[in-house]
Every structure is written in C-alpha cells, then in structure tokens.
Symmetry: D2
Subunit: 326 residues, 4 copies
C-alpha cells in the first residue's frame, strides 16, 4: 500500500492526545506507582477516582484512575482546537456509521464520545479545567520527573486501515514499518502536535492499548527511575529497556503498573511540524528499528496489552514474526 498523503485540511481539528482512563483494582497501590514512584501529581481524589497530571501540564488530568474489577482502558481522550470542532467531529464520525453521544465529564467542557473503526472508545473535548502552573515548583518534582503525556500506542488487526482512518482525522504519518512480502504496514506512528506521534499502531491481536507514554527531560531521569524501581519493590514491573528506538530515535523504558497497564517513559524524539515532513520507512526485517542498539524486546512486550471494555479482541489479518528475545 502506498503511504497516505498528509491530510492538510482534515474535517475537524484535533490539537493533541489528552488523557486515558484506566480501571485499576486498588487505588492505593496505583497511587504508590503513579504518584510516589513516577512522580505524577494528584489533582483530584475521592474513593472511586484519582486524577493525575504531569509537571508542565495545565489541564486537569492526563490519567484518570478508576476503581474497578477489570483492568481495562475506559477511554482515550483528545483535545480539539475550538468548540465548533466537536460538532464537525460528530458529523464526521456519524458519516462513518459510528455512534456518537454527548457525555458529562468532570473538569471538562462539552465532550463527544464515539469510537474508531475498530471500536476503541474515544472522547473529544475543547475545554478542560486549567490549573495553576507547577512547572517551576521544583520542590514537587519526584521520581522520573514526568513532564507531559506524549502518546498512545494501540494494537491494530489491520494497521493500513487504522492509518487510513486516523489520517482522515488529520493525524500525519511520521514513520512506519512495512512487511516487504505483502507490502502492508506492520506498524505506524502518526502525530498532531508536532512530535513523532500522538497515536501509533502495531499489528497484533486488537484492538488493545499497547502503552501510554510520558515525556521526561533526559535519559538520566530514566536511569534514576530504574534505580528507584529496582530498590523499592518494583523490579518485576520493569519490562523493557533502557534503550533507543530506531523508530522515533527516542530513548525509552517500558514499565507495567500494578494492574499490568504498560507505561513508556520517553525522551529525545524530533520535531515534525513541517507538513511536507517525509515519513520514514523501516523494513520489518531490520531489528534496529525496534532497538537501535540491538537488544531484543521480551515476549510479553509483543503479546500483552490492555483491552477496552466490551470490545472484542480478534486476531490480526497480517501474520508475520516479530523479532523476540530468544
């Protein structure tokens, strides 16, 4: 499949990814992980929900933790440019035959709920409660010093189709992996906010959320987190890394929260604001696309992910062998 042309005038204007709502079994255990260990800041807390933001974020939440029995991801949230984009979005999703509804969300203005073509629950808002800045309150910095949410990565049963769908929504392709035998995409990275991605798709049993990523200042913050986690009872939660991805050029670490939700800690990607930015094509057979330095990822990283509530998971259409640690 030829790579999609950038969609310069999409039907509605998404600014960036915004937040995810995770169901967790034990709010206290999740707080110990996200707040005491990663260093996210609590912006709301009651017996059922904890809202978190990263250090440079002014919006009320980038993660919502909700107490529950099944560790699913309830929704992926996105911010649009202006209120009128919500109405344009509603029209566009309905034109695709996808259900929409207006929902009430605490700390957010008018919010549109819908799904993508795979059934992934999406919500769009234009306004979220803005909080006082804490970016220069250095006494609050802890853990990995997370600055902002960076991207979502999802398993897709057909990456070409996911790319086509999100491209219509205005996401621009920055890098992709092609299966040379079939000419189909194995994985793809797409952005709105000017970095390598707001959303990415990987071939696999889907739809499922592979990970949610946070941006940190330097690789040394990631080394600090590894030292902290490995000496405070979180050794088994370290899944992959540290390393540098060939794709995105980012320095990375993958960890798992107490319910298994995967978090990537991430820094050092590049700027992609040029509308004529050329997507980079990688060969599925090139192991350096995954880890520039050569170390393979563990099996769990390829196979495990977070499901969405009530959304059936099916096998991917494309069968191919990823490179796994022997």
């Amino acid at each position: 499949m030829p790579e999609p042309k950038p969609n310069l005038y999409p039907a509605f204007n998404i600014v960036r990814l915004s937040h995810v709502e995770f169901v967790v079994k034990d709010l206290a255990a999740s707080k110990a992980f996200y707040v005491d260990t990663l260093g996210l800041q609590v912006t709301h807390e009651d017996g059922e929900r904890v809202c978190l933001r990263a250090m440079e974020e002014r919006g009320h939440h980038c993660i919502v933790l909700k107490k529950g029995a099944e560790p699913v991801a309830n929704v992926l949230g996105f911010k649009v440019y202006q209120e009128e984009e919500l109405d344009k979005a509603k029209t566009w999703f309905e034109g695709k035959g996808l259900k929409t509804s207006w929902v009430e969300r605490p700390h957010q203005g008018r919010t549109l709920r819908t799904t993508d073509h795979q059934g992934i629950p999406l919500e769009f808002y234009f306004q979220m409660e803005r909080l006082p800045r804490i970016h220069q309150k250095y006494a609050l910095y802890r853990g990995v010093k997370p600055l902002r949410i960076d991207h979502f990565n999802m398993f897709s049963t057909n990456v070409d189709r996911s790319v086509e769908f999100y491209n219509e929504m205005g996401f621009r392709l920055t890098e992709y992996t092609e299966d040379a035998q079939t000419g189909k995409m194995w994985a793809a990275w797409m952005h709105r906010k000017g970095g390598v991605h707001d959303v990415a798709f990987t071939n696999g049993r889907g739809p499922r959320l592979h990970h949610t990523a946070f941006w940190v200042p330097t690789p040394l913050n990631i080394i600090d987190l590894l030292d902290l986690m490995s000496t405070t009872g979180y050794l088994a939660n370290i899944e992959r890394g540290p390393g540098r991805h060939g794709i995105s050029n980012a320095f990375f670490l993958y960890i798992r929260d107490p319910d298994g939700h995967r978090i990537e800690i991430y820094c050092s990607d590049y700027q992609t604001v040029d509308p004529d930015h050329e997507p980079i094509k990688w060969d599925l057979k090139d192991p350096q696309r995954q880890t520039l330095w050569g170390a393979p990822a563990p099996k769990s990283w390829f196979e495990e992910g977070t499901t969405f509530p009530g959304v059936a998971v099916t096998e991917p259409e494309l069968k191919a062998q990823p490179i796994v640690a022997p």
Copy 2:
C-alpha cells in the same frame, strides 16, 4: 495594555521560523565557529555563501552565511503551510501598506519578500529542498550537537505594537514581561510551532536582531560546548550563561560568532500547543524572570544586536532600567 487574545484563525498559516541569512566578513572564520565548534552541517558552499543545517533538520538551510563587509542580518525566513498561504500573505502585508515582492532563492520554491511594521526583512516560502536525514548518523555529531533552529529574538522600539502585529500573523503569546508603572510590555515571547517561541521581542533600540537560538538535547551538551570554546580560542565569545531562564524555563547559553552575531544554545522549554494556553506574566522588577538562579546578564547582552541592512535604528518608546550586572 490587555494581553492579546490568541488569533485562532489568522489570515495565513505560518508553520515555523525557518532560517536567517547573516553577512560575515570571513567565511573561513565563520565556518570554524558554526561548523567545527557548534557542529552545524554544511549543505552548500561556494566562495560567497555557506548554507548550514542542524542534525534533525531535513530542509536545506537554517543559516546562510554570506560574505560581505557589514555584519548585518539580511533576512529572517519562515515556512508556510501550503503554497496558497503565500498569496494570502501577500494580500495581508499589502493591506498593511507594506511592500512585497516575489524573489528567487536557491533551494527554495516560490518566496515572498516583505517587512514587518518595524522594517525587519521577512521572507516566506512553502517549499525548501529536502535532504537525506542525518539524525541517526551519529558519527557526524560534533560540538554542541545542535538539533534544530528554535527561535529569533528581536529588539523592538514598542513591544506592544510588535505583539499586536505578529499576533495578527497567528503567533500566540506564551510569556511576557510587563512594566508595572506604565502597564506596557517590556518583552514578549510568541510561538507558531508549539514551544515557547518562534519569535520574541525585547524593548530596546530597534529594530535589531538580538539572537538566533538552537535547540540541543540536554544541558550537558551546553557544558561540553563551554569546555570546548574556552580551550580553543573562543573564550571571549562566551557572553552569558550557562543558566536557566525564569521565562521559558529553558537552560541557556549565549555566545557571539566572529562577527558579533549572537547565538543562543537552548534546551528544556515546554509544550504550548493548547490554543487556550495561558500566557505567563512576569514583573519587570523580578530578576528571576531573566535568570531563575539569580546571576545577572552582562551589559553587552542588553545593548548589542545585529542590524538589518538599510533599516534605521531608533530609541525605544519605553524607558526603563533593565537589571544589569553591577
């Protein structure tokens, strides 16, 4: 003056700042500075001109060095979203009573030349020759490992007026310093590409270019550059820093090229893509806005700048005392 509302639907769509053309007296001396010391890459070279790019840039040039007698800045270049933005821009500038012309520029598509209200020469293009990526050719990295051009900072004789003009062009205010006595702006930072700024304005004799900034990976690269410059004959070219700005939260270093053009090395600012991002107001009396850690800037930093060819420099309308090293 009340701060300007963000202009969500500007008359034409600028993507980002792009490049500057500096007149230099000795191309070899300038290459020793920009290429051997800073680590920019040569993309074109003849007896009259040298074109440079930074490590993650795909466009042909972010700096053009042109041999000449007077060390001026010939032009500030900006990239627009699509070719049709050029025509919209022409109409808009002419509506302001400013002269425009179509000019031929090597390695660029159709290019519009004009000036801002102060007479600063501006050029807009939609297409520049794209080069093979060198972002992961780590053997080429040298000096401070510059990744991309980040912003221009200009002396303005009336910062309120400059902000109003650039706001109409779509630049959004992120931070500003107010003179509490007069209610007027002393300095302002405005962006298009999602960081703290593409352009900034400081009260002073103008119009002049205060500095051009480059983004680097971490503060340690800046320390490396200081070590290199201070032991290779460039000690006198170190003007201010290292330090952290209160404004922008960036880690910075200011250096001067062999002709006195000022370059800032810069990392660690924050993401500003939200259209409802709240500008941060600083008081002119607060010295931490300039240097969070308290060290004052030298007199030269407040007073010296690069002129534009044939553009008269006049005194600023607002008189106030900047904080200078005693």
Copy 3:
C-alpha cells in the same frame, strides 16, 4: 619558592579528610538546608547536635551541626590509617611545639586534638561508628544527591608555609597558583585520598575556613539543586556558579548555609594516586584557573569565610589583587 617534593614516607598516615563541626544558630533552619535541600541524611539528633552523612558514606558523620551563638567551625576532622598513627601524630605535633590532647568524641574511637601552625583546630581518629549502607537505597536520595565529603578549603596568611606544613603531614600538592612577581604561592591544592584535594589553601585573611565540599554524581545534579534552591527561598544562598574550575577541572557550585558557612558542590575532578603525579602550576594572572569559562567570582567569595573559635585572624603576608567581578 620551589614546589615541595612529595613526602613519600610521612611521619603518620592520614587516610582522608573526614568531617567538620559547624556552630549554627538555629538547628531547624540548618536541617532545612542540609537535609531537605542538599539531601544529607541525619544519623544522630538531639536538641544540641545534629550529625549528618552523605549517601555513600559508612562513617557516622561528615558534618556535625552544633547549636550556638557564633557561627564558627569548631574543628576539621581527619581519619588515620591505624590506631598507632594517632601516637605518631601526637609526637609529630608536639615536636612542632603544638599542643595536643586526647578528647572524647561521640561515635568515634580514641581522638587526638591539636592545631596546625596557623591555629586551625584539627582532630584525628582511626575509628568511627560504621553504619548500614544506604548507597543503593534510592528512595532516600534527595536534593543534590550528595555522595561524600570531598575537601576543605582554608584561607592562609602564608600559603607557602601552609603547604610546607601539610606536605610534612603527607598531603601531596596537585595544583597551585603562583604570583609570578614574588615567586610565592597564591593558592594550593593537596590530597591524601587520590583526588585533587583533601585540603586547599588560598591567600587571604586567616586562618579561616573558606568552604567544605561535597561530591555529587554529575553536573545535572547541580543544575537540579539550583532549580530547587531558587524556587524554595534559597535564591540569596546561591553565591557562585555553576561553572568549571580551570584548577581541578571540576564542575562547581558555591552556596551559603543559613549561618553563612560556605558549601561547594563539586564533581568531575581527576585521579592523582601516582606518587610522581606532577603538580600543575597556574599563573595568578590567568583568570581561567578560577573559571575555565571566564565568568568572574563575586567579591563575597574572595572575602568571606568562617572563623575558628578563639583563633585570631590576621592579614595575609602576600598582597595581590584577585580577579573579581567588576
């Protein structure tokens, strides 16, 4: 004066500098500085004294804070190799006509108290209570992540004489500044433990303690401390830096505690264990010896220091002009 030959077989064997006792007016204010801000760990605390250690230290204290009215330094402590070195030391000091006594010090074995030729109070011990290691308890790391005490720097009224005295004690010269006009030393750095120094001497009103230094992992920890201090009410306690010393090649920051005692945060010097290591000579007129990158030190840094109780301060014998910020 010709530089002293290394004294390969000194009269007694000092291992390293060990600790300092500071008199402070307000123990709570000092704890906020040393513990909450710098990140030292409390090992003993009562209403009169607080003992502190750094993260990799196993000995009980590197700083003792003692409540009192006058902010003096009560003693500089050193560890000797074996118990019998204490007796050899006693003999040596008495041979110099200096008074000695055996003193009881909590958490220490047999301890010898005496003074150097200038009257600086010195104590030597061979055994100090050893504590469980916390080096890999990463949850305890805070502030600048101090790893260990590194050196003392003292004002001397005659640096040549101080070097001669400490050289006899086995300290080896690593670097020194010479006043070319008189051929006399302006400053000197001397070590026992294999780095650039355990003790240093600077020409000035003396004897006084100029500063006590702590070793940290990387320059980024120093940047973190600057960010923290400048946003938690300690802006005025930042005195000089960050920068790189020409002498020692170390990355440095100088800060003042609530009583004015000066602390240096320090990393990156070099190994000096070779007995034939050549001392490096600097010219008093070379400003890069102080700051490789050129920025001058403030006047307070040259003039202020901590006195020793009951020890008269006199003018230096050598008069020369240090380089001070204009």
Copy 4:
C-alpha cells in the same frame, strides 16, 4: 571461607593497575575501534605496536596493541610506589616459588616480570614516561570520552585462592559473591587505588582475562557510544548493557574489540579508601548483584574470555549455575 582481613602492611606497595598488552590481528581495525570509536589517544605508533592513553592519564600507555596471530593478552601491568618496591616484590614472588625476571619495556623504567599463582603474566614498574596533560584539551575528546583505565576482571578456577593471593599483595576486598551451598566465593572485587576494584575474579575456566574497564564521566557518554557504535558498523560488538551493576553500583556497558577482547565502559562506583571499609557480601542466587535492574547477561558474557600466551586453561573447581538470559 571467612573473608580475608585487610592486609594493612603488605610486602610491597602497589599504587594501581596500569596497562594491558593485547595481541591483535589487524592494527588498523583495532585503531578504528580504540581510537576513532572509543576515543583513546595514540601516544606511540609503528608497524608492530600502537600505544594508547586515556584523557586524564599522564603515563605513556594504558593499552598496548601488538600485531600478532593469536588474540591473547600478553601481560597485565601495575605501577608500584617507589623503585625499592620492585626489589621487595621480586623477593615476595620468589618466596612463593614463582619465576621473576627484569625486562626492558619501552617508555618504562626498571620492570619486573612474573606471574600470579594461576600463571597470569604480571609486570611491575615504578616509572613510566610522563606526557603533557591533555585533560583540558577538549578539542581532543571523542567517542565515549575515556578518562582512565579502571580495572581488570579475570576468570579464576578458584576465587578463594585468588583472593588470598592478591590480598597478600595488598589488594583489599570490597565486594564478593558467595555460593551459599559451599561457602565459597563465586566472585570477588579488590582494590588498591581507592575505588571498588583494580582487579576482580570470577569463577570460570581460567586463567583468562574477562575484561578491561575504562572510566568515563557520566552515563550519557555511554549512551553516546551506543548510538555511535550501532550506526557505524559496530552493532555486533555491543555485548551487554547499558545497565547498573548491583555489585559496585556502577553504570556499565560491555563491548568487544575486533579480536574479541572485552572492554567495559564504566562510571559511578564509590570511594573505598577507609582501611576498615566493610566488604559487601552478595548471594549467588541474587540476580540483582549482576544487574540491579534485572536484565540478564548473554551467554557469551559468562563464557568467553581472552587467554594468556602459553598458559593452560582448566575447568573451575566450583560448579554452579550463573544466571543467563533464557
């Protein structure tokens, strides 16, 4: 076996490890690795030998590359305190029934050649040609910015016996791994110069050299080297890491030179100058002793090493299973 008491007054005084001589098949290929990639500096070069030093070293060589057919390690070199130590050493080795001889070595003073109890060839000298300092010639820094040689690690067929032998020579134990079933040491780290080790021993087929380590300023230099090696044809030479050792607390990377000689890049260990420094005991079953963050080492790392010329390799006396990547 009870851990050895520190030998406070050894028979002769070794200052530190000094250098290794590697036989390599292709001097040009080795120079591309050690000089262009790692950043060591050439101090002598002819058609048969290349001598190298690291950036803060004043001695003539820390590695000697010698052209030859078999990639062996010809000798491990050590510096002693004074010339008379050489004679004391000769007596001591002969007292152990080990052969000694005086050998001529370019750029060194009088040199004693002998072997340890396993047959490992050792040479001791007191004087090596001292070179002008390049520590602050920052234009020469390249690659991983190696500052100094740090330690040798050797396979031993009986670690208890190796520890006993080197302890008599004055090396002090800092950390060790015990096989709880047999009470025997599996591995041991011993120092002279005040860090975690000058020499280390690991149970295995021996005697063989496991690796030679170099000290670098910060973990970021190691990340830079990984980026460089993985994009310049050295991907297969990256063997293990980056990671943090539980033992020594050091940040590490293991790489292989073109002949398979293993080099460790290393930073962040701790100071061990106190003669009463307590050795740290690790359990052979604790995988965090190898990698604090949990990632296992590859099989090659446990099995491969460099032989010494003419020295037979035998099986270790202790059989136990190291932890290997599955």
